[in-house]
Symmetry: C2
Subunit: 332 residues, 2 copies
Amino acid sequence: MSIDEKKLFDRIRSINPKTILLRGPEGYLNLIQRIASKIEGQFNIPTIISADECYGSCDTIENDALILGAEIVLHVGHSIRTDNFGKRTIMIDVTDDISFSRIIKKSIPIIKKYKRLGLCTISQYLNALQPSKKLFEEYGFDVIIGQGQGYLRDGQIFGCRFNTVFSIKGRIDAIIFLGQSRFHALGASLSTSLPTFMLDPYSNTFENMQNETEKWYKRAILQIYKAIDAKKFGVLIGLKEGQMNINTALRIRERLINNGKNAQLFSIREISSNRLDMLSQFDAFIQTACPRISIDQRSFKKPVLSTLQTEALFGIWDGLDPKSVLEKETWF
Amino acid sequence: MSIDEKKLFDRIRSINPKTILLRGPEGYLNLIQRIASKIEGQFNIPTIISADECYGSCDTIENDALILGAEIVLHVGHSIRTDNFGKRTIMIDVTDDISFSRIIKKSIPIIKKYKRLGLCTISQYLNALQPSKKLFEEYGFDVIIGQGQGYLRDGQIFGCRFNTVFSIKGRIDAIIFLGQSRFHALGASLSTSLPTFMLDPYSNTFENMQNETEKWYKRAILQIYKAIDAKKFGVLIGLKEGQMNINTALRIRERLINNGKNAQLFSIREISSNRLDMLSQFDAFIQTACPRISIDQRSFKKPVLSTLQTEALFGIWDGLDPKSVLEKETWF
């Protein structure tokens, strides 16, 4: 795993900051500490590393930088189509140059029944897309890499945005996800309903996501039905910078009240089972922060619906079938 | 438990907000929900309740109010000497009118060996100070209620500020803490080294805090000695609004580096064992957020020193004895 140090140091030199804040997912904490040490050695300024949970590129900390007086936040490993974000955030790409050739070759006997493949991955393996496409083509497949859209680069998916596979789903028979993130592979599968294979170059294994996709989908639907007769709803507004959707929350609150339900808005930074357990009088929760919080396997005692699931719930109340709830290009 | 609703509603009417944010410690969540419902009924506006952890009057959420567009934050149950705080926060007193007469009478046989008493309590029992003083005086005691200072009202203590008992400790033989918060009673005891009794009117029991005080004090000292040979220090800057002490953190970092130690700054919102476990290469942590985090019984695997303990550590490195580390009017 590596970053473009020269580009970063040139950027820092041009801004000449007094303090730098660094930020990234837990898996990159060691890398981030190494970058921080190098910056301190090079520029003789203190660095501050954010020790809070980091969900993704939605989880920037511009406000923390403001109150800490840090002129720059380096947001490591969640690259998007732009290098800069907000006033202080610089997105730092982390690149992992591991080869996918071996696992691709190993997967061919199973994958060969599909003719047309869609390739996707997450930011650190974006460099692997073109060589992998070429290799699959040598084996006779038609391969498409979906065009970038919004924050997404070509072939890139987020945990909540799948435009690059959704937009090509009519032209492919299966999705190949490059990487070792089941979270993302399941997202691609759920959002397209296409056969999806995760190719993990580290364990040299590949996995058909179908069984787990069905399990996750059923659970997502079950949660909706569990909330059907709820009377008291807690509607959660996330406080993370890219997750704050108060207008959605206000709209949902109004709709609940119009349906004769009781609804109370809550603001919350990290949505956890612990925090929700305290709100014991509520029958169900709707969270407008991050769709994954509702879709992933979490140990909530009450239903905690995402915005998409809530729309499906409203549909059921109106007599509609909640089919294909998650088959969407984004989960907002 | 009650609040002054008329005063609150008059205030709201004068500001005419579109949204109100409410906030308080977990024990008051039911009360806060009742207040929120009443406000929604009275003013026909949505209310938002903060579901995040709330430590005290240091844990205001002016910035949350700003991003949520709430013109008012009602901060419930952590009253200080002023009604307003920052631009949007209104401190709402919660008053508990339970009588302490019964538990005072019960405690007399044990307490009578002390002639001069200092009375203290937390915000919800402030009304009980004068009647309790009078009752103790009827039993022949000399009773002093320490004068308010800074944010503290007469006789009030916080978890980290004990000026009202520290300032009278030369004139009293024992401290009487009114209430059922061992956390606060231990603070009064540790900060003065005086015999301290907690009088709990609900369980109708009183407790001599001496044994536990000694246990807590020894643990606080032990943590300092555990950090003596640490090489790699993580220095934590709290992100809560009244806990952000970056200058203290920068000063400590410099001192550590001058002592030949390795020091990395971290920013963090909630300091928990889980988050610190991730930073496994560090031998010890220093946190500049809230002294109680270090003093209270928590399940940290590595030493996590408060600012006071860190000063004592620096003293030990300079050859001084870390005596009376916690015998201070505030723990900053």
